[in-house]
C-alpha cells in the first residue's frame, strides 16, 4: 500500500502540474487571441479534466494512508509514529491529521475535493472557472511538491519493523478531535476558492460584480467551517486540557483566529461592492490577506517558529511555506498593479455616519484585532531578534489590548444595521438608538442590583469591569437587532393580517441574507455573554479522602469512592463524587485520569455538569505523591453553555443566509381610469 500511495501522490503532482501549465497557456492564448495548433478552449478543457483526475489520484493517496492505519502497517514510519493496534477505529482516522505528513495530505485532499466541485460546476461561467481552477491547481502543485519531496507520508521505516506503534497523542483521543481538525482544515483550505476567484476575476478584468455572487456561497460555507472548527477546538480545550478555560491565546489558536477575522471583514465589506460598487481594491486585498494568513497559520504551527502547547507536528518545512507565500504575494501585487484601473470605485462615501462607513469601521476594527493577534504572536521572535531577549506574550497582553477592541466591534455590530445607506440625520439616529441605549443602561443597573459589579474581594477587577460592559453592550445590540426584526415584521403583519411570529418568518424568507446576518449577530452576542462569564469563574482544590467534602458555590461534592479500570488502550482511575445542593443529592460526577499504554502519557478526562447559569467542572488531578491522597479540583464557570448555544445560533443564521430569498409575488391591479373613478363616486 505504501508503493500505491507514493505512486498516486506522484501522479497527482503530474496532473496538477499539467492542469496549471495547460490551463495557464490556454488562458493566455484566449486573452491574447494568438493562433495556436490546438484550440485554447479544448486545451483549457483538458486542464480541467486533469484537475478532476488529480482529485481521484489524491483521494487514492488518502485512501492508501487510511488503509495502512487500519491494517497496522508499521513498515511506514508515519503509521508507526501515530497509531497502534489497540487504537479505536474512530481515532485511526484521526491519525491521518495527527502528524506533519498526514495533515499536509489532508490539506491537499480537501483542496482536491474543493477543486473537484468547482470543476464540475464550471458551466456557471466557463472562463472565470477556468481561471479559478488554474489558480487552485497552482496551490495544489505546491502542496504536492511538499508531500512528494519534503514530507512524504509513505516513507518506510529503517531497520526492523516493530510489532506495535507508538500510538496516537492522548490529547487527540477525544471524540471532538475526530471532527475539529477536518472542520478547521475545511475552513483554511476553503479560503483558497474565493482567493482563486478573486485573483482570476482580477486577471481577466471580469466585468461587474458577478464573481462575488458566484463565490458568496463558497466564502460563507468556508467561513462556517472555520467558525465551527475554532469553536470545536475551544470545546476540546475546555473538556480535555483540564485548566477550566477554553482559549489560552496560544499561537496555534491565534493562527486559526487571524484568517477568521479577515474573512469576516471580507464578508461584510463585500456587501458594499455588491450594493454600491465600492471598496473593490480593499475586498480583493482582504481575500488575498485571508488566504496568506491561512498559509501563515500553517507556517507558524508546522515550522515551529513559535512555541505552542499544542503544535502536534513540527518540522523544517518553513522554508517551503515562506517561498510559496513570497510567490503568492508577488503574483497578487503584480496582478493588482497591472489591473488596478479595473477596481475603480463607482461611488464614494457621502457621510461619516452611514451604513457604508459602519462597514468600513467594522473592517478597521476586525483588521486591527487581526494585527494585534499577529503582533502578539510574532513579538517574541521580534524581541529576540532586536534585543536578544525572548519574552512571553500571553493572556494578560491580549486581555488588555484585544478585549477593548472586541467590545468596540460588538458595539458596531449593533450600530451598523441601524444606519441607513449613504447618509442619515441626527433625528434618525436618536429615533433608532433610544431603545438600545435604554437597554444598555438598564442592564448596567440590573447588574449592579444583583451584585455583578467590577469589584471583587473589595478590589477593582478589570475582568469584571469588562464583563459588565459586555453584558450592557450585548443587551443594547440584541435590542437593536430585535427591534429591526419587529419593525419589519410589524409592517408585514399589518399588510397580511398574519401574527407577528408568521410575519417574522415571512420577513426572513424575503431577505434571507439580511436577516440571516442578523441571526448570526444574535449568535455572536450570545457567545460574548458566555465569554464575559469567565470573569466570575471560581475554583477550589482539595485532597479528598473517602467521604471528604469540597464546597464550591452552592454545591457540596462528597467523595464516595475511587476506582480503577483498564482496557487494551489505556488504564484509568477515577473518582466518584456525589453532588449535593441545599442538602439534597443532585447527581454524581466521575472525573477520570487515564494513562495510555502505547505512549505511557497521562490524560485527564474532565467531568462537566452544564447548566445555562454555569458549568460545574471537576478535574481528577491524580494523587499527591507525598500523602497518596487523591486531588480534586472543581471550577464553577458561569455562562459557558452560552458560548456553545451561541455557536448553534450562528450556524443556523449562516444556513438561513445561504438559502435564496423568496420574492413576494407582486399582484398588479389595473389603475382605474378617470371615468371609472367618476363612476364610482
Amino acid at each position: 500500500m505504501a508503493a500505491f500511495g507514493s505512486f498516486t501522490l506522484l501522479i497527482a503532482l503530474a496532473l496538477a502540474a499539467y492542469n496549471l501549465l495547460a490551463g495557464a497557456l490556454a488562458l493566455r492564448l484566449i486573452a491574447t487571441g494568438q493562433p495556436a495548433r490546438i484550440s485554447p478552449e479544448r486545451l483549457a478543457d483538458t486542464a480541467r479534466r486533469a484537475g478532476i483526475a488529480g482529485f481521484v489520484a489524491i483521494t487514492g493517496t488518502a485512501f492508501a494512508l487510511i488503509w495502512a492505519v487500519f491494517t497496522n502497517d508499521f513498515s511506514i514510519t508515519y503509521i508507526m509514529e501515530h497509531s497502534n493496534r489497540a487504537l479505536p477505529a474512530a481515532y485511526k482516522f484521526s491519525a491521518l491529521w495527527s502528524g506533519q505528513e498526514g495533515s499536509l495530505l489532508l490539506w491537499a485532499w480537501l483542496l482536491g475535493i474543493y477543486g473537484f466541485v468547482l470543476r464540475l460546476t464550471h458551466k456557471t461561467d466557463v472562463k472565470l472557472y477556468a481561471y479559478a481552477g488554474t489558480i487552485l491547481a497552482g496551490i495544489q502543485v505546491f502542496f504536492l511538491l511538499v508531500l512528494n519531496f519534503a514530507a512524504p507520508p509513505f516513507a518506510l521505516l529503517k531497520g526492523a519493523i516493530p510489532d506495535d506503534g507508538n500510538g496516537l497523542n492522548p490529547l487527540l483521543q477525544y471524540p471532538e478531535m475526530v471532527i475539529h481538525p477536518p472542520m478547521l482544515y475545511l475552513g483554511y483550505v476553503g479560503f483558497s476558492v474565493p482567493f482563486a476567484f478573486a485573483l482570476g476575476a482580477l486577471m481577466m478584468r471580469y466585468p461587474g460584480e458577478k464573481w462575488i455572487k458566484v463565490t458568496r456561497a463558497w466564502t460563507m460555507v468556508t467561513w462556517l467551517f472555520l467558525t465551527a472548527g475554532i469553536f470545536l477546538g475551544m470545546h476540546w480545550a475546555y473538556a480535555v486540557l483540564g485548566w477550566g478555560g477554553y482559549w489560552g491565546w496560544d499561537p496555534v489558536e491565534n493562527a486559526s483566529f487571524m484568517p477568521w477575522l479577515t474573512g469576516t471583514a471580507f464578508l461584510h465589506s463585500v456587501m458594499m461592492q455588491e450594493k454600491r460598487g465600492m471598496m473593490k481594491s480593499w475586498n480583493v486585498w482582504l481575500i488575498f490577506s485571508t488566504f496568506l494568513l491561512t498559509m501563515l497559520g500553517t507556517l507558524l504551527t508546522r515550522a515551529g517558529l513559535v512555541s505552542s502547547v499544542h503544535a502536534f507536528a513540527q518540522s523544517s518545512i518553513g522554508t517551503w511555506f515562506l517561498v510559496f507565500m513570497g510567490i503568492v504575494l508577488a503574483v497578487c501585487i503584480f496582478t493588482y498593479v497591472l489591473q488596478r484601473s479595473h477596481l475603480k470605485s463607482e461611488h464614494q462615501m457621502e457621510s461619516l455616519v452611514s451604513r457604508e462607513s459602519s462597514f468600513l469601521f467594522n473592517n478597521l476594527v476586525l483588521l486591527t484585532a487581526c494585527f494585534v493577534i499577529l503582533w502578539g504572536t510574532l513579538f517574541p521572535i521580534l524581541s529576540e531578534y532586536v534585543v536578544g531577549n525572548k519574552v512571553t506574550v500571553g493572556a494578560p497582553f491580549y486581555n488588555r489590548v484585544a478585549i477593548p477592541i472586541g467590545l468596540f466591534l460588538l458595539f458596531l455590530t449593533g450600530v451598523g444595521p441601524l444606519l441607513p445607506w449613504r447618509a442619515t440625520s441626527f433625528r434618525a439616529i436618536r429615533r433608532n438608538f433610544v431603545l438600545p441605549v435604554i437597554a444598555l443602561w438598564a442592564t448596567v443597573i440590573v447588574c449592579f442590583a444583583v451584585g455583578v459589579n467590577p469589584w471583587k474581594d473589595g478590589a477593582f477587577s478589570q475582568g469584571s469591569f469588562y464583563a459588565v460592559v459586555s453584558f450592557a453592550v450585548s443587551a443594547a445590540v440584541l435590542t437593536a437587532i430585535l427591534s429591526e426584526f419587529l419593525r419589519g415584521a410589524g409592517v408585514i403583519s399589518r399588510q397580511t393580517g398574519r401574527n407577528l411570529a408568521v410575519a417574522t418568518w415571512l420577513l426572513t424568507r424575503r431577505n434571507t441574507r439580511r436577516y440571516g446576518g442578523y441571526i448570526i449577530h444574535i449568535g455572536v452576542v450570545i457567545v460574548v455573554v458566555g465569554l464575559a462569564g469567565a470573569a466570575f469563574n471560581t475554583s477550589e482544590e482539595k485532597e479528598l479522602g473517602l467521604h471528604d467534602k469540597l464546597l464550591i458555590g452552592p454545591y457540596t461534592l462528597e467523595c464516595i469512592g475511587f476506582t480503577q479500570d483498564s482496557n487494551p488502550n489505556f488504564n484509568s482511575e477515577y473518582a466518584m463524587l456525589d453532588v449535593y445542593k441545599d442538602g439534597k443529592k443532585q447527581f454524581q460526577m466521575t472525573p477520570e485520569k487515564r494513562v495510555y499504554l502505547a505512549s505511557e502519557q497521562p490524560q485527564t478526562m474532565v467531568a462537566i455538569h452544564s447548566l445555562p447559569s454555569w458549568d460545574l467542572y471537576v478535574v481528577y488531578e491524580g494523587t499527591n505523591p507525598d500523602t497518596s491522597q487523591p486531588i480534586i479540583k472543581a471550577f464553577l464557570n458561569p455562562l459557558v453553555g452560552w458560548i456553545w448555544a451561541g455557536l448553534v445560533i450562528l450556524i443556523f443564521g449562516t444556513f438561513v443566509a445561504l438559502v435564496p430569498s423568496v420574492r413576494p409575488s407582486i399582484a398588479t391591479r389595473p389603475v382605474p381610469t378617470e371615468p371609472a373613478l367618476k363612476g364610482g363616486q
Binding site: V386, I405, F426, R513
Partner: protein, 171 residues
C-alpha cells in the same frame, strides 16, 4: 435648525459626565492580599514548560509551580511591590516568566504598536471618509449645475450589468 447641534452638545456632555462618573467609581476600592495574590499569579508563567499561567498550572507534582507560588506568597508577605516581585522573578527565571511584556525598553513597543496602529487607521479612515464625502458633495453640486454628458448607451449598459449581476438584497 439650531436645536439639533445644541441637543447633540447636550448628549455629548451627558456622555462625558457618565464616563467620568464610571471612571471615578472604578478607581475606588481597596486591594487585599488574596486578590493581589490571584492577580499576580495570573501575570506570571509556570516555568515547567506547560506554557500555562502560574495560577492555572494544573500538573500534579509540577516541579515549578509550587515553588513559584510559595515565593510569590513570601514576596507579598514581605511587602514587596509588584515591580519588585516581577524583578525578583525575572532575575531568577528569566524574562519569559512574565506573562506579558513589561512597559520598559523595547517591551513598550509591544503595548504601543496596537494602539498606534488602531489610532492611525481610525484617523486615516475618518479623514478619508470626510474627503470622499466632500468629493461626493462637490460632484452632486456640479451635476446639479451642469448638463449631463453621460453617454446614454454607456449608462444603459452599466445599469444592465448592475441589474443582471446584482445580489438578492444584501444588508
Amino acid at each position: 435648525m439650531d436645536g439639533a447641534p445644541a441637543r447633540f452638545t447636550l448628549w455629548m456632555r451627558a456622555t462625558q459626565g457618565l464616563v467620568l462618573a464610571v471612571a471615578v467609581c472604578f478607581s475606588l476600592g481597596a486591594t487585599d492580599s488574596s486578590a493581589r495574590y490571584h492577580d499576580l499569579n495570573h501575570r506570571l508563567m509556570c516555568t515547567c514548560g506547560c506554557a500555562q499561567m502560574l495560577g492555572e498550572c494544573n500538573h500534579v507534582g509540577c516541579p515549578s509551580s509550587g515553588q513559584e507560588l510559595s515565593e510569590l506568597s513570601a514576596d507579598i508577605a514581605a511587602g514587596m511591590s509588584d515591580k519588585e516581585i516581577f524583578s525578583a522573578f525575572t532575575a531568577k527565571y528569566g524574562a519569559t516568566v512574565l506573562a506579558a511584556p513589561t512597559t520598559e525598553g523595547f517591551d513598550l513597543v509591544a503595548w504601543i504598536a496596537p494602539f498606534a496602529v488602531f489610532g492611525a487607521a481610525l484617523l486615516g479612515t475618518i479623514l478619508l471618509i470626510r474627503r470622499w464625502a466632500g468629493i461626493a458633495g462637490a460632484k452632486a453640486q456640479a451635476a446639479a449645475l451642469e448638463p449631463v454628458i453621460v453617454d446614454p448607451a454607456d449608462r444603459e449598459r452599466k445599469e444592465k450589468i448592475r441589474r443582471e449581476t446584482g445580489a438578492d438584497g444584501g444588508f
